[in-house]
Amino acid sequence: MNKNRLLIIEDEPPIANAFKKQLTMLGGFSVDIANGGNEGLEKLKKGTYDLVLLDIVMPDIDGIDVLRAIQADKKTYKDVPVMMLTNVTAIEAKKEVEKLGVKGFVVKTSIRPDELIERVKEVIA
């Protein structure tokens, strides 16, 4: 049984639940969900995760600001690796998050479940 723990930070419950289902049932990961950037940062402070899957456009604080917060305080957020999970494909957004050290950029509708599991395992390994 895979003991790795993932955190999905995504404000749309249908998307968060769909990916949680894929990651738990196919990948055997333990998965938590945060429904926004602030909740995500709180969960990261309190818990330990092997990877964060992070949306960009969220109403409270967006994924880019969540990334900045994680980068600015590696001790509090345990320097957790982050992979973007988003429908934003704009080059400007990709460049912005790459500058902030993301470990991957996944487009929600393009990725097959088995590819997602593989990408997650690559980052965690």
Partner: protein, 169 residues
């Protein structure tokens, strides 16, 4: 479910997906109303734009999430998609990408408005939002043309009747 609808869905699980069709109808209305108003009316007034844009982002986010989940479910439910289904899948995938990018541009515009009151910044970035709106409308028109070819928002009265709201699922 109506046997004829079931038969059509077996041919093409995307084109004849009632929920997908319903989401596309909602998007069609939105692209015609709220988003166009945002460009033609509110863009000239930062205060109104800020309020309306946030509502638009919220609705776009829900629509995009619903379309994305429907596509994910289609891929999960069928080991292999037919050539027609693959084509429709990729077309709607491009539409969700356009919607995602449109949300991002509107979101960044709001963010910069909150951080700065400089009208110059607002004007320059608002042009990018307009470009993304036009791009999204073009992607939607392409999907709509394809949909009409397969008849589920059809001018063919028999097929349209199968998918009318009076049909119970």
């Amino acid at each position: 479910m109506n046997a004829n609808i079931l038969k059509l869905k077996q041919q093409n699980a995307i084109a004849y997906n009632r929920k997908l069709r319903s989401q596309l109808r909602n998007l069609h209305e939105m692209l015609g109303d709220e988003i166009t108003d945002l460009v033609t009316g509110e863009l000239g007034d930062p205060d109104t734009f800020f309020t309306e844009a946030q509502k638009v982002i919220k609705t776009l986010s829900e629509l995009t999430a619903n379309l994305s989940v429907l596509l994910l479910k289609v891929k999960e439910s069928k080991k292999e998609l037919s050539a027609e289904e693959e084509r429709d899948y990729h077309m709607i995938e491009e539409l969700t990408d356009a919607l995602g990018n449109l949300q991002y541009e509107i979101h960044m515009l709001i963010k910069h408005m909150q951080q700065s009151q400089k009208i110059k910044t607002f004007t320059a970035e608002s042009l990018r939002v307009i470009d993304k709106i036009v791009e999204t409308q073009e992607k939607f028109r392409a999907v709509r043309a394809q949909i009409n070819n397969f008849g589920y928002m059809s001018k063919n009265p028999e097929i349209a009747a199968l998918f009318s709201d009076k049909e119970a699922s």
